[in-house]
Amino acid sequence: MRSEHFQHIEPRAFWALLAFGGAVTLAGLGAAHTMEVHGHAITGMTNQVVWGLPHVFAIFMIVAASGVLNVASIGSVFGQSAYKPRAPLSGLLSLALLAGGLMVLMLDLGRPDRVIVAATHYNFTSVFAWNVFLYSGMAAIVGVYLWTMFERRMNRYSKAAGIAALVWRFALTTGTGSIFAFLVARQAYQSAVLAPLFIVLSFAWGLAVFLIVQSAMYAWNGQVLPEAVRARMARLLGVFVAAALYLVAVYHLTNLYFARQGDFEAFILLGRGDPVGVFPALFWGGYVLLGALLPMALLFHPRGVGPNAMLMASVMVVAGAFALLFVFIVGGQSFPLEIFPGHEVTSSFADGQVELYVPRWPEWLLGIGGLGAAFVLTLIGVRALDVLPHDELKP
Amino acid sequence: MHCGLGCQLLRHPLMVAVTLVLLIASGAAMAEPAGRTPKPAIEPARAGTQCVAPPEVMRRDHPAMLKHQRDVTVHRGVRQARDSLQGCVGCHASAATGSVAQAKTDFCSSCHGYAAVSIDCFECHASRPAQRTAQAEATKP
């Protein structure tokens, strides 16, 4: 019987945390409602930057949802016993993040009341249409996967479910990267490297989120992560962060090689044409330094990684993720389309002009509301289900 | 957890009954007086014309007719067809408001308000026929 090892969160703390998370989620839903009534004019989005902060939050959550399942995969599919007890929490986080990300994505639609149309009319040349199946299928597969972990009679199918989940999330993350990879119009996208880049980013971000949640819950319950497990997970995060940095470097180096991409790269990396210089700051400072180099320095430190250092590195990786996604999604739209190469262009529709996007409160609330929804679902899941790994309590 | 005094009080059968009665009574008190929702006022459309189908057929089938016609018009470019929305609006626009969906008593709004089935056609479609729109434009301050 596992019930005596069932780790609870203190009831008082649970209700307080639930109220907090619920309030954040409700604020997000309220912002979405206001956007639906008044239109997107109340946001900072224009006809030049049509995908803004909500997409940054949504894509982070969806990519992290795919990657957080890595922990379970390493346990079930690759047979690493240290990861097996962490699989249920990984599955729960995957579902919660997916739900939160999809909530933000669907509420940011111009017509969220037409989600039924999206669910019944499909144009299969569109990656978005494929993603409807990939995302909902992911939720179902993770649900089945969790069931094989919890239901003792189904334990022997856990590996098969794990393999199915692994294959499915490769397809899903490739689909997410392909949303951008297939766009021939914009210089920031139209690149095949985006699909594998998103896969590696999902590994890094998912593991970072897992480590943050695990650390927080262990701290609440007075548990301690065994030294050996911590060292392995920290090193793994470091490897993922390094691999992601490598693919981002390859993407930019290739772009720099093409003369036609030169102006765009100068805009992103050096801020040429941008009076504020927000994209180079976010890219170099937010992603490369804070999101990659500093975490790697902590995680690969010769004297080892303490629990605080690992938590800090994970938080930095997540901050870097938001910075990278903002540069990628918004920067790609801020830079004007090159309809007339070699020409200076002006028009009433901001042709040839850099568009500075400043998010307003509805976008912030909606994005953070999605995080709140993921938080609430994780909280309820941890309370109701036996997902916490059974590591030792603090002496 | 032991049920305290307040909890015991609330769970007493009499308290439960009183609460239920209060809830139902307040609900009844807040209810709209009968007949607030006006019965649909089907204004006769333009004299000398007939609708494209008898009223019983229209009442039942107009959603399917409109849905079919919109695909025919948008995808196949057939305009001014028998079942076109502009055709409906042209005949059924109210004499008073010039619209089929502006006032609660206009043609579309009255039935849909009575049946409590919201429609969003006129978020995009003009609810006034073409020439009356021109008149409205001309008389705008």
């Binding site: 639906e36 008044h38 239109g39 997107h40 004019a41 989005m45 224009t46 006809n47 030049q48 049509v50 995908w51 639609l109 111009g110 017509r111 037409r114 989600v115 149309v117 999206a118 009319h121 499909y122 144009n123 040349t125 569109s126 978005f128 249409a129 949303i179 297939f182 766009l183 021939v184 119009a185 914009r186 389309l337 309809i339 007339f340 070699g342 020409h343 200076e344 002006t346 028009s347 009433s348 529709f349 901001a350 042709d351 | 000398g48 014309t49 948008v74 196949r76 470019g77 057939v78 305009r79 001014q80 067809a81 028998r82 502009q86 055709g87 978020e123 995009c124 479609h125 003009a126 729109t133």
Partner: protein
């Protein structure tokens, strides 16, 4: 018979004749109205036709916005657009950096034969009609703006606020994406787009509309005679809009 009764008889005949004519008119008039309605439905579009535009930028004056104003009033768009207003056509002023040569031209939806906006639309709302016109079926559009991301010409606009007083022939509303329709409501009735009509009426003669599939149409003859090019032809989208003088 007396003279008076003959006159009276003539008078009565006249009256009866007039009455009969009047009755006939009253009886026939609704019938005429019904026949008028029955004749009006326009035919289905086919792929025999491919509509296109030819824009002569040498005749396009910098600062002239006749085509834009015509489009705005025809389709009920904002005459003074803000960054969130929809613009279906805009005048673009270009200057070649190396040579300094300047040109002015209108840019609108290019109605590509291989439209990327159609490929990326998840619900199929963005579609290409049989006659080559690329449209948004706003009944299916969920407002995801993927087509706005995909269009190389920035042809699509998103409606950011609730709209009122739409033109009856041009339904448009908040939350959907839209773009130049090549005035389908006119073209289907045998007319030409409002921009072309305005440009021609003003005497600039910079815009030509016609059937690219018909070798004898004015536009086909012209593109056979004079070198024209498509914008971003390297993308191989085969737009239906061509430009002279670029």
């Amino acid at each position: 018979m007396s003279k008076g009764s003959t006159e009276a008889l003539a008078g009565r005949r006249k009256f009866l004749g007039l009455a009969a004519a009047g009755m006939g008119g009253v009886l026939l008039a609704p019938g005429i109205h019904l026949i008028e309605v029955a004749q009006a439905a326009t035919p289905e579009v086919t792929s025999k036709v491919r509509w296109g535009l030819l824009i002569d930028t040498t005749k396009c004056a910098s600062g002239c916005t006749d085509c834009v104003s015509a489009c705005n009033s025809e389709n009920g768009l904002d005459p003074k657009p803000s960054p969130t207003s929809a613009q279906w056509i805009r005048k673009v002023e270009i200057k070649e950096i190396k040579t300094g040569r300047q040109a002015s031209l209108p840019v609108m939806c290019q109605h590509c034969a291989q439209p990327p906006c159609v490929d990326v639309c998840p619900t199929g709302a963005s579609f290409k009609r049989a006659d080559g016109i690329v449209l948004v079926d706003r009944h299916s559009c969920i407002g995801c703006r993927y087509c706005v991301m995909a269009c190389p010409y920035k042809a699509r606009s998103f409606v950011h606020e609730p709209l009122t007083d739409q033109k009856p022939d041009v339904p448009r509303g908040k939350g959907c994406v839209e773009g130049c329709t090549l005035c389908v409501h006119r073209v289907d009735r045998g007319g030409t787009p409002a921009c072309v009509e305005a440009c021609t009426k003003a005497g600039h003669e910079a815009m030509l509309f016609g059937d690219l599939n018909d070798p004898d149409s004015a536009i086909s003859k012209r593109v056979r005679e004079v070198a024209s090019r498509q914008l971003r032809a390297d993308l191989k989208l085969d737009p239906g809009v061509r430009y002279l003088g670029l």
